[in-house]
């Protein structure tokens, strides 16, 4: 590309010959007012604001559509050009509402900014306001076209940039309008990408209030799924890779943030789906199931080479106590940053709750071990059957220690078991026994106390162990649990005793024989004492016969002062400087993360905690604390085109094996999406991230600033 020399406002400028006069001026900090011009769109020439004087040419020229030429002399502040600009501004404001303060775009409106710059002439022109009402029918986007000044940016963005064409110009009663090319946006095959909102210089097309959060930075808020994900996985990117059939790329994108794509695809509590923009159209994307689909179809593992690359060794040694999701995640990143990492796991296999705290049929051991293997392959040393009793002691041999033991002790309500009967277990003990092939004396009939997700995990496990299962809980319909998990277990044959309060575990000859309960109408926990307050049904006491009891009543760390770090009264490590449970502890160089500081949470929280603590520990060890990485190349074609009946495509659910079949084994409940289902579900994604590719609004003072900086430099 050849360069040409030209003069703009007396300044010598060198510009590439492919540039327009406007581009050359803006790049050199010379502001020419412009409104319909947008750097990502084809020049339009409609707003007449960018007109300038070219020496030797009659009248004015349109700087957005005139290419630079050698020797050109341009005057942007020419009197005639400024008069034309002012007239254009005058005209626009005669069709646009004159009150700005009531407009939601107030302060961010390009039109207002330009009129401020160009100035008002006060010509006594006729008021020609467009009287159209707001169109609020679409759940995502609001059209208030009485503010529209017809710059056509939205029409061009939708047509040229996206290949959709849901918006068009039309003359209605002699007046030009931007209208929807159909009865509704959905009917017009809109893909709801938000490009029109992004480029609208006025308040005519806007996001509806409530679609995006306003308490976080805009670039995060615009991608609600990633914003909700504690690890901020780039969800739209990996879904797009699935749609393109590039499953390995998809897994690579997931792995840039989390080392357990498959495990998460199986058991994540998918908070990403809570704010998915698509939920306003019909329902959110099935993001978790797509993640599982990608993980199970990743044959090429194209991310692996990059994944195993590690930084030069720093010579620093790190011990991680606990081989669960949090510890292994932190271990992976610390090793990657060049530190030598040893993970100490108390049980015979690593994986924490993934391999011993959740049922096999939800998360197969082998799937977890395969993902742990990759971490080991990257250089992390994992030592099993190695419980650590004192973190402070361990620190003496290491530069840093991470306590990531989770909450691995299940609570048992001792007051119910006054006789200390032996057949009383925690759900964790049950799950661990089943998964690690340990002996457990359950008998034939088991009562589970508790109504949360863990209770139903225990129920499903017991059913597969051919036990009769009674779930006893206070909540009507076991409303604490996710409906999906509850219904799965009930379908498989668990009996639910809801609105039941426990009185005592009864037994004979040192053996559990039943659970004494009564029925309640309602209950609550006292806000101060946190004691149970119930409205019991009189004379409803009876005994549910059973051979053993499983408590699903929460979990604790099981830590004592012997562990060598300061704990609060509930057994959680605290940093004495703040008195709170944080990544730092009372011993310098000993860190804590995951459930052990947050209390029992979800897999993704443990992983996110592992990432964050790794950043902190790397800095502590002298590194830069940056663990972000790009593992794979990805595409993001903004030209998305149309999909027939796009807005109508319903969310896909995975096929589930029949209850009578699945209770016979520990294989997964569902076999996952078929390729057709996965592809179709991925096609529903609104690709919110594409909007960030579009250049954001720039005001005249932004260009002036750029010029100042240049002068200062």
């Amino acid at each position: 590309m050849a360069e040409v020399k030209l003069t703009i406002d007396g300044r010598q400028i060198v510009a590439d010959e492919s540039k327009t006069v406007l581009e050359a001026a803006l790049e050199n900090g010379i502001y020419i007012p412009h409104l319909c011009y947008h750097e990502d769109l084809h020049p339009n020439g409609g707003c007449r604001l960018c007109v300038v004087k070219q020496e030797g040419v009659d009248g004015v020229i349109t700087s957005c559509s005139t290419k630079v030429q050698e020797g050109m002399v341009i005057n942007t502040k020419d009197d005639l050009a400024e008069k034309v600009r002012k007239l254009s501004c005058d005209f626009m404001f005669k069709t646009h509402p004159s009150e700005c303060t009531g407009c939601p775009k107030y302060g961010r409106c390009l039109l207002a900014s330009i009129s401020q710059y160009v100035g008002d002439t006060g010509r006594a022109l006729r008021e020609l306001k467009l009287r159209v009402t707001a169109d609020e029918t679409n759940p995502l986007m609001l059209h208030e076209m009485y503010r529209c000044i017809l710059c056509g940016r939205c029409v061009r963005a939708c047509g040229e940039l996206r290949g959709v064409g849901a918006l068009k110009f039309a003359k209605v009663d002699g007046r030009m309008r931007v209208v929807i090319d159909g009865d509704s946006l959905a009917d017009a095959d809109c893909r709801f990408c938000g490009a029109c909102v992004e480029v609208c210089p006025t308040g005519s097309i806007r996001d509806k209030v409530g679609v995006f959060r306003d308490d976080i930075p805009r670039e995060q808020a615009l991608i609600p799924c990633s914003a909700e994900c504690p690890a901020h996985i780039s969800i739209p990117e990996y879904i797009r890779a699935i749609y393109d059939g590039e499953y390995s790329t998809s897994v690579g994108i997931i792995r840039e943030k989390v080392p357990f794509p498959h495990a998460l695809g199986l058991v994540c509590n998918n908070r990403c789906e809570n704010n998915c923009k698509h939920k306003h159209l019909n329902s959110s994307l099935s993001i978790r199931n797509l993640k599982r689909f990608a993980a199970e179809h990743d044959e090429d593992k194209i991310w692996l080479d990059n994944y195993l690359k590690v930084a030069p060794r720093t010579g620093k040694k790190v011990a991680v106590i606990g081989g669960g999701a949090c510890g292994l995640t932190a271990g992976y990143y610390l090793n990657k940053k060049g530190h030598d990492v040893t993970v100490f796991e108390s049980k015979k296999i690593p994986g924490g709750h993934m391999t011993s705290g959740m049922p096999e049929y939800r998360i197969p051991t082998q799937a977890v071990l395969d993902e742990v293997k990759v971490i080991e392959d990257s250089g992390v040393k994992i030592v099993c059957n190695s419980p650590i009793t004192n973190a402070a002691e361990l620190k003496k041999d290491y530069d840093a220690v991470l306590v990531a033991i989770g909450t691995s002790v299940g609570k048992k309500l001792g007051y119910l078991n006054k006789d200390n009967l032996p057949q009383v277990f925690s759900a964790l003990e049950l799950l661990q026994a089943q998964r690690l092939n340990q002996e457990i004396d359950l008998g034939d009939t088991v009562c589970i106390i508790g109504g949360g997700n863990v209770a139903f995990d225990a129920a499903g496990t017991l059913l597969r162990m051919k036990k009769t299962v009674n779930v006893v809980c206070l909540e009507k319909d076991a409303s604490q649990a996710s409906p999906e998990e509850r219904d799965t277990a009930l379908e498989e044959g668990a009996n639910l005793f809801d609105s039941h309060s426990n009185e005592a575990i009864v037994g004979e000859n040192g053996h559990v024989t039943g659970l004494q309960v009564h029925k309640i109408n309602s209950f609550y926990f006292h806000p101060e004492t946190r004691a149970l307050v119930e409205d019991a049904i009189p004379d409803s006491t009876y005994i549910i016969p059973c051979d053993s009891i499983v408590f699903a009543a929460g979990q604790v760390t099981g830590l004592t002062e012997d562990f060598g770090i300061e704990l609060n009264k509930f057994g959680y490590p605290i940093d004495p400087k703040t008195g709170k449970s944080e990544y730092t502890t009372s011993v310098e160089g000993v860190f804590a993360a995951g459930d052990v500081i947050t209390g029992t949470r979800f897999l993704i929280d443990a992983i996110a905690g592992g990432r964050e603590v790794a950043e902190l520990m790397d800095k502590y060890l002298g590194g830069d604390g940056v663990i972000d990485e790009q593992l794979v190349e990805r595409k993001a074609d903004p030209y998305i085109g149309t999909i027939d009946q796009f807005a109508e495509i319903a969310r896909h659910e995975m096929d589930v094996r029949p209850a009578e079949e699945r209770r016979e084994d520990f294989a997964p409940v569902s076999t996952g999406f078929t390729c057709e289902q996965g592809n179709c579900e991925a096609s529903r994604c609104l690709q919110c991230d594409l909007r960030l590719q579009i250049a954001g609004p720039k005001f005249w003072n932004d260009y002036v600033k750029a010029e100042d900086e240049e002068v200062n430099a």
Partner: protein, 369 residues
């Protein structure tokens, strides 16, 4: 890139009928010219673009769309072929593309002259409400085409032309320019304010509305002009028109926007006296405007206060409430007469002249007036 040649027969404005005339009467020559041009360009396909409702003249490969003064711009044609409104694109190095082909444009008038031995202008001459085509060789003085003897004004070139006095026709010659595309003659009886207002309405309707100056400029000018024949002009309206029209001429995006202000400016200059009479004295030298029109009134003794007329009035010119005598606001009344037929009591009448009966000035109960 392959090339597509479009013969645009939809560029004519409402004052010009030459495209249709040529397709009807000189099709062979037009076709020969198109073929010749297609050969020069190396175009592989030819499409005829006709105005909606036009007959097809036995042509093949025909597309229909709206007639517009920008339909000589390749991008505007592509837009219409894609089902969008016509909007021109004028840009350095710009290539208009349709289905992978570069679009070039020719009009029947140009095509004819490419093939004919004698360069001929097909001038639409409109006089006394009827139009005819006069085919004359290039260079013919326009006064030889139409002398417009005794006329008040002549509009050359329709929407994109200018007004001249009949005596000036000799200064213009037939050619391939806009000015000699049409000659529209206005007789001594014409009010030039009404003529200009009508022209500005057409100018507004024919704007493609792409650029602000033409879109809102035509609308402003039309609205300001519409006020003149009905005595609603504001002081300074003439100055306002003289202020904005030259700027629109300079600043508008395409030749349409750069040319239509000439008609307005030439009218303001040539017929300044008529404009001044309308705006300052509210009088019409031609005796066309400000004629006392019929007055519609509601007879207070017949009105039952039913309210049917209020619903019938599109201009909200009738005031009243149930059981009160209704009244017509004469400033708001547009004399459409809808209210007359809506009144079952025959209380609303068209008062052709003579002294008006006594009417209530404020809301009065039925029977109390």
């Amino acid at each position: 890139m392959e090339k597509l040649l479009v013969c645009s027969c939809a560029v004519n404005d409402p004052y010009t009928i030459s495209s249709a005339y040529l397709l009807e009467n000189e099709l062979d020559t037009v076709k020969a010219g198109i073929k010749k041009y297609a050969g020069m360009l190396g175009a592989s396909e030819i499409i005829y673009f006709l105005p909606e409702g036009s007959k097809d003249f036995g042509l093949e490969n025909v597309a229909y769309g709206q007639a517009s003064p920008v339909m000589d711009n390749p991008y505007a044609i592509v837009q219409q072929l894609k089902g969008n409104l016509p909007r021109p694109m004028i840009q350095d190095d710009y290539v208009a593309e349709y289905e992978g082909k570069e679009v070039a444009v020719i009009t029947p008038e140009v095509a004819y002259n490419l093939a004919a031995s004698q360069k001929t202008a097909f001038i639409t001459v409109t006089k006394g409400g009827s139009s005819e085509i006069k085919a004359v060789p290039f260079g013919t003085k326009l006064n030889e085409v139409e002398d417009a003897a005794g006329a008040k004004a002549v509009l050359l070139g329709g929407l994109r032309g200018k007004f001249i006095l009949p005596a000036s026709l000799a200064d213009y010659a037939a050619g391939d320019d806009i000015l000699s595309s049409s000659i529209t003659v206005f007789g001594p009886e014409a009010c030039m304010v009404v003529v200009t207002a009508d022209l500005m309405t057409k100018t507004w309707m024919n704007s493609c509305n792409k650029c602000v100056l033409c879109r809102d400029g035509t609308f402003q000018v039309k609205t300001i002009m519409d006020d003149m024949p009905v005595g609603k002009s504001k002081a300074g309206d003439i100055d306002l028109l003289k202020d904005i029209a030259p700027l629109i001429k300079i600043g508008a995006y395409c030749p349409y926007g750069q040319n239509w202000p000439n008609t307005l400016l030439s009218a303001l200059e040539l017929f300044a006296g008529e404009f001044d009479a309308h705006t300052k004295k509210k009088s019409c030298p031609a005796g066309v405007c400000f004629q006392a029109g019929a007055t519609y009134i509601i007879l207070p003794d017949k009105c039952t206060g039913c309210g049917d007329c209020v619903d019938a009035c599109d201009y909200t010119a009738i005031e009243g409430k149930k059981k009160f005598i209704h009244m017509i606001d004469q400033d708001m009344c547009e004399h459409c007469g809808e209210c007359v037929s809506s009144c079952e009591e025959e209380a609303i009448v068209k008062w052709e002249g003579g002294k008006l009966p006594k009417l209530p000035k404020k809301l009065t109960k039925v029977g109390k007036f």
